[in-house]
Symmetry: C2
Subunit: 331 residues, 2 copies
């Protein structure tokens, strides 16, 4: 790959910091790089490959001469700057939900639908973190047999609500342990030693926006409108990795050995399924890791062709920055 000019938009956020580390660690061929954020972050320093860069204010001119812009600055910022990227010939890889369901924007998990990158018209969307982590576990099964249904309950980390939510979890835990009242500034309810239904708007059908994303994005990524998904999204007091308890029903009966082998072989997945030692995926053990870990693989008791499993993945990495950089690598 010829070295690229890269813009990192939302450079000072939780995902922004991971963009930097992933670009470095994967030795992404960077010609020039610039770090963009809102006016109030201008002048902050970011170190990339030993060199210090000052954060610049993002403007509509920021993308001229750039090849790829990695965006994680929130959906409203993505909408403001998308046309500027397109006009500048700079491909926007967008971590927000702004364009995920736009028909002419590919929604890509590189291990699953890399070919969708080809038909982009200047914008490629990074899926929702819970969708990515779920599909990393479900797709190896889907390759063996079409999946009819997925019932999934999530255990989502504070990082999904940003760096401030991660700090809020730590601050609340400290205050709670000290017997002090806990402060709620980012999340609507106490998250330390508690959990609550995902705090996104609820639609008429009773599903919150996070759950709707998991349903619709699955259909789009797999190009399969027949796969039915019922998600329940829950925030738990974990810092940066999501866990998901999943039951799938497949069209054909699969052996557990075939499922295990498919997951173990799938790029980006590790099989962690030691019944003897009671050792299965844990969010702490995938924090900072690129791979998702999958285990608890067993037959479901309620379907003829049902399989239950449990997956953990780093929300900031495979759920966000890593997946976006992998998309950029496909370009």
């Amino acid at each position: 790959m010829t070295p690229k000019n890269i813009a990192v938009a939302g450079a000072t956020g939780a995902v922004g910091a991971e963009f930097v580390s992933v670009l470095e660690k994967r030795n992404f061929p960077v010609k020039n790089i610039k770090f963009l954020a809102s006016a109030r972050s201008v002048g902050k320093k970011i170190t990339f490959k030993g060199e210090e860069f000052a954060v610049e204010e993002m403007t509509k001119d920021s993308f001229k001469g750039m090849d790829v812009a990695l965006f994680s600055a929130g959906g409203s910022q993505s909408k403001i700057y998308a046309q500027s990227c397109v006009d500048a010939g700079c491909v926007m890889v967008d971590n927000s939900s702004a364009f995920r369901m736009t028909p002419d924007v590919p929604l890509v998990i590189p291990e699953i639908n890399p070919e969708d990158v080809k038909w982009h018209k200047g914008i490629i969307a990074n899926p929702n973190c819970s969708t990515i982590i779920m599909l990393m576990a479900v797709y190896p099964i889907y390759q063996l047999s079409k999946v009819k249904r997925v019932i999934v309950s999530t255990y989502q980390a504070a990082s999904g609500a940003g760096a401030k939510a991660m700090k809020e979890l730590e601050d609340q835990a400290r205050d709670f342990l000290d017997g002090k009242p806990v402060k709620k500034e980012v999340l609507p309810y106490q998250i330390a030693f508690n959990l609550f239904s995902h705090n996104t708007k609820i639609g008429d059908d009773g599903y919150n926006e996070e759950e709707v994303k998991m349903i619709k994005e699955t259909n789009k990524i797999l190009h399969d409108e027949n796969i039915k998904v019922t998600p329940t999204c829950v925030r738990v007091p974990v810092l940066r990795a999501h866990s998901e308890s999943i039951v799938v029903e497949t069209e054909q009966k699969l052996s557990l050995d075939a499922v295990r082998s498919a997951i173990a072989k799938f790029p980006g997945c590790q099989l962690v399924d030691d019944r003897e030692k009671n050792y299965f995926p844990m969010p702490l053990e995938v924090s900072g890791e690129y791979d998702c870990k999958v285990g608890r693989i067993r037959y479901d008791y309620t379907f003829d062709n049902g399989i239950a499993l449990f997956v953990c993945g780093d929300q900031l990495l495979k759920g966000a920055a890593l997946n976006a950089v992998q998309i950029a690598e496909l370009l």
Copy 2:
């Protein structure tokens, strides 16, 4: 009810402390009460209705003259003392799993199958905490239509592993926040800012003992071998209340209004289901409460007659001490 002579066995544990508070608060008619524990707890003081009692060592003679023994001293202790209770004409209400699946021992949730108390032969078993909390949410639906399947993922509090596990969660959180290595003495993995698959033995089918309890106890309590259950049991960093994400498939199509109304009317259940305010059951808000809270009631997208819901219940109260005292009240 004529006042009863009550023995509390395992009086110094997490559930033992709740037996005392529940007997007091419900004004259970107590004639005499004694508090039993192992030799190493002898002499510890327990205050009941303003009076101080010394903990006595549990022996096979402890139950003479007693009417009811509330047991939460672990399964092995229950097995040792069951015959002594029966011989003394003292009804054992046992919180352990020792006798739950014994055919001539009733397994009772008083709101669901109180009539089963009648055929006891000296021992009545208190169901597993996760089973109780699940069925408190599912049974009001079951009364409207038979339930064919239940898919449930749990978010289980540290209290299920006892008072020491609750303290371990707090200690680990403190050490983790201070950047110190965390100590693991009670639970096999770090629980603070982490979660893991329930640490009970895994059978050949890949289900752990906690999950097997949820399946078999449901069949026994409902006297229905046809209801299929697939549980995934997970421990989360919460102190004393369990949460469960549940999908049920019913035989008949039910309206959500009928489900909501059935749950709201069911004794021991509160409907907490405010979509507008994004306010649903949370473990922190049921901690110390007798009622289970149920919400997130919506149609499931994967079944024709599927309903999704979320329940929280205090593991030490409705999941243990309260349910046992309610059983004693039925006698």
